[in-house]
Symmetry: C2
Amino acid sequence: MDAALTSYLDAHAEEAQELLTRLCRQPSVAAQNLGMAEMADLVESLLQEAGFRTQRLLTEGAPPAIYGEQRGQSDFTLLLYNHYDVQPAEPLALWHSPPFEPTIREGKFYARGAADNKGEIAARLAAIRALRAVYGTLPITLRWIIEGEEEIGSPHFAAIAQQYASLLQADGGLWEGAGFDSTGRPELHLGTKGLLYVQLDVRCLGIDAHSGAAPILPSAAGRLVQVLSALRTPEGRVRIPGFYDTVRPPSEAERAALADQPDREAELRAAYQVERFVDGLTGVALRERYAFAPTCNIAGLGSGYTGEGVKTVLPASAMAKIDFRLVPEQDPQDILTKLQQYLQSEGFDDVQVTVLGMAEPVVTPIDHPFVQRVATIAES
Amino acid sequence: MDAALTSYLDAHAEEAQELLTRLCRQPSVAAQNLGMAEMADLVESLLQEAGFRTQRLLTEGAPPAIYGEQRGQSDFTLLLYNHYDVQPAEPLALWHSPPFEPTIREGKFYARGAADNKGEIAARLAAIRALRAVYGTLPITLRWIIEGEEEIGSPHFAAIAQQYASLLQADGGLWEGAGFDSTGRPELHLGTKGLLYVQLDVRCLGIDAHSGAAPILPSAAGRLVQVLSALRTPEGRVRIPGFYDTVRPPSEAERAALADQPDREAELRAAYQVERFVDGLTGVALRERYAFAPTCNIAGLGSGYTGEGVKTVLPASAMAKIDFRLVPEQDPQDILTKLQQYLQSEGFDDVQVTVLGMAEPVVTPIDHPFVQRVATIAES
């Protein structure tokens, strides 16, 4: 970083902290609809103070997303994402200082949202102010969207992004996140897996029976076991025909990046108290499986009596929750269709499939120039 | 029944009702240790009044079982079983009259225990009084044991039976129970299946993981599915080697009795809202399966998240409760050993097996002279 910039930042450190204090002092709990309008106003005015032309991106039922644009010296356009809402502060009794009264203790700044995500907004604002003060203008063009519902699962973000797609065009996009690996290098996350989350319900009887009738009554729990063992192998490989058809293997660049990652095996083994990973994997093969494999995971299983001791019951119904993590180019809708067809073809037409979640996988190619540019900056 | 006996019973109906009233007026809730000593005294004195030589069968920690013996004209010895304890009467607000103040409403007798099991004790006492009054003595020799813990699962009954085995020898034993079939014929139950109730626990991780780690972490739920599908076929047949070795097929007489049973299929279908029984069974084959087949029933299944909606979790552990109903000559201890050996041989040595219940199967052969004698009396 050049000396003029460093010296500006040093001189204005208190001002940056004041920014963070203003952001954290304003409650903005989306789950409780607390202070959201005031927070939107504050964010919009801070963006304006930092030289942005702002606009409110509105959609039915959501607090406004604040959008700002600021032209820079080059046409290269960077899209920034942040959110101005925070998690509920309860239970309040566990706080050492009030959640919305920023307090410094032993050199650390305490307030709800300080780390997620108001600190990141303040840091970006401080950097933008410094660039403008030292150079008069930004080196690149910025577009910035700050929504108000991330902590409740961004229920309206897809609608906003679709409605205002033209404003969000850019040469690259950044979301704060990731951290530093065990060797201290910054990590870049280049996408997220997709999701298909379903609940499978099997019902064989109208009511639970006494288990004395087990010789002649069909078992929902037994049937669910059959369904689940048809879905995945003992090691977790998915048995649905066509499930892996569109999965693309990692590129050479992606493999090289995996090989370059530090070894986290001991750390993972200790964290989960597990001796052996699936298929005995280790090294780069383990990292590749972790990063690039789609899954069929049993997230929940329930049937009959699960309390203490004995109940001799033949349960009328049984249930499993399954999450499929999907990778490019798997399409959750296509996977759902394949799942349903497979259940039909195996004779499990009595299994009720309820979709509880769907998301498409997204990935930024590791050899994309934008990724390389961010990596170079992060390493410098 | 002969005329003298009938006329005695008619003349002393009020006295019989007074017996029932005395029994029901005395609280005797084993679960709450309420009135147990007073009830034991009452039962013993009633047996003495009816001509029995009594004795208290004592074992550490249990209320006394009351035993009585009365010689009759013949040496044929009949053992009667009853219990003098009742279930807790709570919730009291749902009673139309106080539970321990017998009340007659519309010709019916209401009190806790009136039907289970004080009514049965009173009926037997009234019959014995009538026989003694009319004939001066009983036609056969009676031994009678009345315990005080049936409603809490008879935790000391096996110990008592073992300790006082010589007192309990008889040519046949009767316990009230059973009812009338759909054609109005009395039913005789000639035994009960045995039980092996186990809990299977699988743990693959020390703590639950986020399901993002599913590509590399072992799944306890997936492993449990494998164990369960190794234990039983889709239709419920048990896969443990040797499980059926000692099962004896029904005798000709037993088959004939099954053929003679009324058809309960429509009733069962309606009760359980089920269209088709296991293996499409119907008719005598269905009744035979119901009465004579041992089972491996999944009474409970639990792992991970089973609440509303989505939780993307890879559960650290999974659990199943299994009840095996056993038939002669299966031995629950032998079946447990075979289960454990099978799990070992299939590589499921990480499955923890906890025994929660065990009982041996018992059966009285249908062609036993005592059974035929009771059947003849019931039909006359």
